[in-house]
Symmetry: C2
Subunit: 726 residues, 2 copies
């Protein structure tokens, strides 16, 4: 729920400046910003010490202003700012932008002040930009509450930027990249109105075609994700830098899943599910935004055709294309016609080296573009061409002609087209002029440029519905799973077989197994299961049995069972904790071992993961993560994203693994964690034994961490760390 | 051996232009290039059709020129160019630069012409730049044979560039990045003189402080590596883009080592050993060169201190610093003093948020810089600050003052210092002016900038001698290894135990084992080794025994040996190949399994690798590679670079592995492949079983591929693919 006043704040008919001034500083900057954007509403200057300012009469306080005010700009000290907000609220203002610092960022007293601010605003439905921000600029709606100086000219267009850092806002405003801004909103401390609220409002603004965001902290994540989904549906790309990837010092967790699918990974999964594009640096943000804002049309196939007159540029691009995951189809069908156009010795393919023939004869370049671009497998065309600003006229003219020819060819076949320069610097004006006239985005830097192309293609083609759920309702399964867990005393974490029982309600299979209280009963159990067997001693809240020496695998005979049981019982006794029984299991011979897990992220809700299991789990972090629940198709796709997938595909002469059963298990775990999100913090199967094709999977271990108990367990310390099963 | 004429080509006293002209084109460009660099020698214009050109008399042919010529510029068609080279050779010229195309790049006829060109040049000791290039510019020596137009001003300095692509040369020349060029050499087809030759010559040029190179193909790799080492010794960084990282379609190989340590990885290892810095894109090349060419001093500690007045920039940089592998020590000892300077609520640490206090009061910023920079663990200081060209004067002035203050602080403590901007674009002139005056490199783009810093620190501190060899001579070991291999008939690849015998000469331990020709003898062998045992059937040239069903592990009793032997013998017979015996081995319980291998790279010679073994080998490619031989210290460092190292360090409650023994095995394999480089193509131990600390390692399998036999084996097809041992 965005504050109801947000529309009035961003698109006010009347504005007051508290702290108005004619000296260098925020008060004067705010006045100038209104001029800069061409604000046509009424402006009231509030300054108790000066009767007149900037040729306008002033008012001693907000209360003295004779008519209702939509938006108030506040650049006075904290206490005065708080006063001004109270007055604005009482007068029914829509919102305020507070440059004032000394709030949440400034120690306990500031936090208190920020709370007071939020309470007043929320009570009156006021939107608040900041505090501790620079305010905002609305170029399309010609409004601004902005406290910092502006460059002479800001290119206007369809890109709305929401940034939590004022310094990043200044950087975007002055980048010289002619992004074409519709809005620049610096959200500061977000005491009331958050990036999610702005995004939610911007999606509905017809002047906004792309939203970019720089976030250090994501508040109201559910609203943010929902707004991203709406943007996706409206064909408005949302591109986000969210810092904190390197987040160190993650807390100790009960299961691997916590370490592997931490909040940053959950954030990734959520953005992906919602169709938002995540990037890592400001340069990537700018290049990706430049592309999606300016490119004509959208790719309808995954394939990208690269063209260049330079073998060197092609070699460079190939390396980067590989890491960007660009799909470069070989355009076999176009090869004979391309070969006929180019010198005999030319290497015809994709990327296409146009050679001097294409560089010196634009008609050749155009025809080559059409030949490649008309292939149905090609969704987008890219010209690899740098044209740095310092270039000699002769070369600049030649490169510009080449660009025009390729742009014409791309337009003729109706495929999206962009230029990628090898260099991050500015382009030659002659080259840029042709690009502008033809509506071609020119991306700077091989790395940033080709990654932007890859992101656009993926964004355009990942059109399937996010997180669909298939099949019947999970109500009955959830009921049975809850019943299974309710049978476990709250004081302890469910043991392996108890966790498996809860998962079985969702159709996750496990090994045949029996619980035996004594060694002799274990012998009987083993006999009925058939040798060899695995024997595990279950001890209350000892989840990592292998490390504690509580597991014996490959037990071959009755005598061996007796001997093993004796050892295990002794070790169980040494733990000093209640003994729960000996678990006797059939031994299975898996084709591969995976991990499947789920957890409830504090921001994004339930997530599910699958990846390589066993010893490699934490070593290689080879996992795919999605918001839960997932469909069968998504589950298969997740498995396909892991390197461990190779183990299931007839790895080195082994039989193929039962991929379908793996996907079913992932779907089951995703529904389990989704349905039980209020009761369960984490669930994990490690290893999930994958058998040969058609023979299914088997959960060889299981762990369910209850939501309420999660904290208690974490407090237990070292005992609660997790290890793979040997 | 560089062509003896190279010095005369690059620093000529007299120049002739074949194809001189006053029309737009190479002939005129060459004349202008000489003017541009300020050439003070004699210039002879060769043109049979014009008596006079550009105010100079002309000569109908080279032969007509009255005095010896050092360097000839040639921009006529192929056949005429070849003629001109012949004449130049006959006249004793030092070298020529050929723009002419139609040589090696242009089909069989061109290849032939290029051979003819090379023969003439080599016979006369002539250096040849090109053909199919743009020529070269020597700014420090004021000479040029260059056929393309130049920008009005090229910043001169200590950076020498050698590029194989003319288009990349043009990009560098015009990048507007003010790199400060000493040379730009476009080497084209390198018919005679290669990038390695130029590098070799440039290292000795006192005007050259940094060499950058763009290579698609590395010719004379040994000379290149040797020249890099000389550059390293002379404190001249060599920074290289070498394309081909993504190189697909590698040929089938006998051992994993080939796939894991292919020519690109060997190239990495060679560059690293030689102290060259490898980067991936032109932007990285430029930023890294800007840093190393301009930074004052060299880091003497690995730690880097980051400062910024913006929390947003810090958050962004932290993510990138993490992937760049920057070491950011927490500067604990400086914290109290820093805290005293900054607002109470400031997060004091590294990175240091200077807050508004540092931004508005330069003396605070300066003092903070000194406090951090004076810590011995800090080797370099970085200010994170963007200042885009379009910035308002107010902010630009403030940022420039901040820069000056931090630069002063860094100078006061004598630590290298650079600025990293969040944006790849140009900087505000006021900011740049301060940077220039203070001699501070300003790097553009968080990614490119922080990676450049990480590269400089690593380069400066990796001072230990490359590939040292320790201990006694390997002569006797090599002799014994050769004898072991000579005992194996040439028609087949050495079997596992035979490979192990050769490796044993270098001190690599293996399991206790016996060869048994029959099942009954296998029973005797097993009895003497003690149960359980592993039994393998050895069949000629079947190297992947597990896939062929020729291995039984965990054989527990004499009856089991009989049964296993019967099955194995039957399977051996099914292969239709000669049976070599049953190998009966003790069974060991490793803490971890690694792979150790070596191969002889065609370009860089012997390399050694170590990494995670077993099923993960090709799945996760978790390996470290070096040129062989390596020292014990290097071997330990290699192990430390792999993620598998965690398995040896008391992984999840397991005992610690014998790291020292692993390092000894890596050293042994590195010496083995190095000593036997002429006889052996590949060697591999997979798995190398690592036992608990103090208990050593054991080569559980071994493979040696002879150099002569490598091709034959590869031709055998699918049988020759490789798999991990189960």
């Amino acid at each position: 729920m965005a504050p109801s006043g947000l529309g009035r704040l961003l698109r006010p008919a009347s504005v007051a400046i508290v702290g108005a001034s004619d000296k260098v500083g925020p008060g004067l900057n705010a006045w100038r910003a209104l001029e800069h954007v061409g604000f046509r509403g009424r402006v009231y200057l509030v300054n108790p010490n000066r009767p007149e300012l900037l040729g306008q009469r002033t008012y001693p306080s907000l209360e003295a202003v004779p008519e209702p005010i939509d938006a108030v700009f506040i650049a006075v000290n904290r206490d005065a700012a708080l006063d001004a907000v109270r007055q604005a609220a009482a007068l029914g203002a829509g919102g305020a932008a507070l440059l004032s610092s000394g709030f949440g960022e400034a120690g306990p007293e500031g936090v208190q002040a920020q709370q007071a601010l939020a309470e007043v605003a929320i009570a009156h439905g006021m939107a608040v930009c900041g505090p501790n921000c620079l305010g905002f600029l609305n170029f399309t709606g010609q409004a601004a509450l902005f406290g910092t100086s502006l460059p002479g000219r800001v290119a206007r267009g369809g890109v709305a930027a929401v940034v939590q850092s004022g310094s990043v806002g200044i950087a975007l405003l002055n980048s010289g990249r002619e992004l074409g801004l519709a809005y620049l909103i610096t959200s500061g401390n977000e005491a009331v109105t958050t990036a999610a609220d702005y995004l939610d409002a911007l999606v509905d603004d017809p002047g906004v075609r792309v939203v970019i965001a720089f976030l250090e902290e994501l508040r109201k994540p559910e609203l943010f994700v929902a707004a991203c989904r709406r943007a996706r549906a409206a064909d408005k790309p949302v591109i986000v830098v969210k810092t904190g990837r390197s987040e160190r010092g993650r807390q100790a967790v009960m299961a691997h899943t916590g370490a592997l699918a931490g909040s940053d990974e959950a954030c990734d999964a959520a953005f992906r599910a919602a169709g938002a594009i995540r990037v890592a640096t400001l340069d990537e943000l700018i290049e990706t935004a430049s592309l999606v804002a300016a490119v004509r049309g959208r790719p309808v196939s995954r394939g990208v055709a690269l063209l260049s007159p330079s073998g060197g540029e092609i070699a460079l691009a190939l390396d980067v294309a590989d890491s960007a995951g660009l799909d470069l189809p070989p355009v076999e069908e176009a090869k004979p016609a391309l070969a006929a156009l180019l010198p005999e010795f030319a290497h015809v393919g994709n990327p296409l080296d146009l050679t001097w023939a294409g560089l010196y004869d634009p008609s050749v370049a155009r025809r080559c573009t059409e030949l490649m671009g008309s292939r149905p497998e090609i969704g987008m065309l890219v010209l690899l061409q740098d044209a740095p600003r310092g270039l000699g006229e002769q070369q600049a003219t030649r490169y510009a002609s080449l660009l025009r020819a390729v742009a014409d060819g791309a337009a003729a076949v109706g495929k999206p087209f962009a230029v990628v320069s090898n260099l991050a610097g500015e382009l030659h004006p002659a080259f840029e002029e042709v690009a502008r006239a033809a509506g071609v985005p020119c991306l700077r830097g091989t790395q940033e440029g080709l990654f932007a192309v890859a992101r656009l293609v993926r964004w355009a083609l990942d059109r399937r519905e996010a997180t669909p759920t298939e099949g019947e309702s999970g109500d009955r399964a959830a009921e049975r799973a809850r019943a299974a867990l309710a049978a476990v005393p709250e004081a302890r974490t469910p043991a392996e077989h108890e966790a498996r029982l809860a998962l079985a309600a969702y159709g996750v299979p496990g090994p045949r197994e029996l619980i035996a209280p004594t060694g002799e009963e274990a012998v009987v159990s083993a006999r009925s299961l058939g040798f060899p067997v695995v024997i595990k001693a279950l001890v209350e809240n000892v989840l990592h049995k292998t490390e504690a020496g509580l597991v014996r695998v490959g037990v071959q005979s009755e005598d061996d069972v007796r001997e093993a049981a004796a050892v295990l019982l002794e070790r169980a006794a040494q733990t000093g904790r209640p003994f729960l029984g000996l678990l006797v299991q059939e031994m299975v011979q898996p084709v591969a071992e995976l991990i499947v897990g789920g957890r409830v992220d504090a921001s994004f809700g339930p997530v599910v993961l699958v990846g390589g299991g066993g010893v490699t789990v934490e070593l290689y972090k080879d996992v795919a993560i999605r918001l839960a629940p997932v469909s069968h198709a998504e589950a298969r796709e997740m498995v396909g994203e892991t390197r461990a997938a190779a183990l299931l595909a007839g790895w080195r002469g082994r039989p193929r693994g039962d991929l379908d059963a793996v996907a079913r298990a992932v779907v089951s775990v995703s529904r389990f964690i989704s349905d039980l999100r209020d009761e369960i913090a984490e669930v994990e199967i490690n290893p999930l034994a994958v058998l040969a094709e058609g023979r299914g999977v088997s959960a060889l271990d299981g762990l369910v961490v209850r939501a309420a108990g999660a904290e208690d367990c974490a407090r237990r310390g070292p005992d609660a760390t997790v290890a793979p099963r040997g």
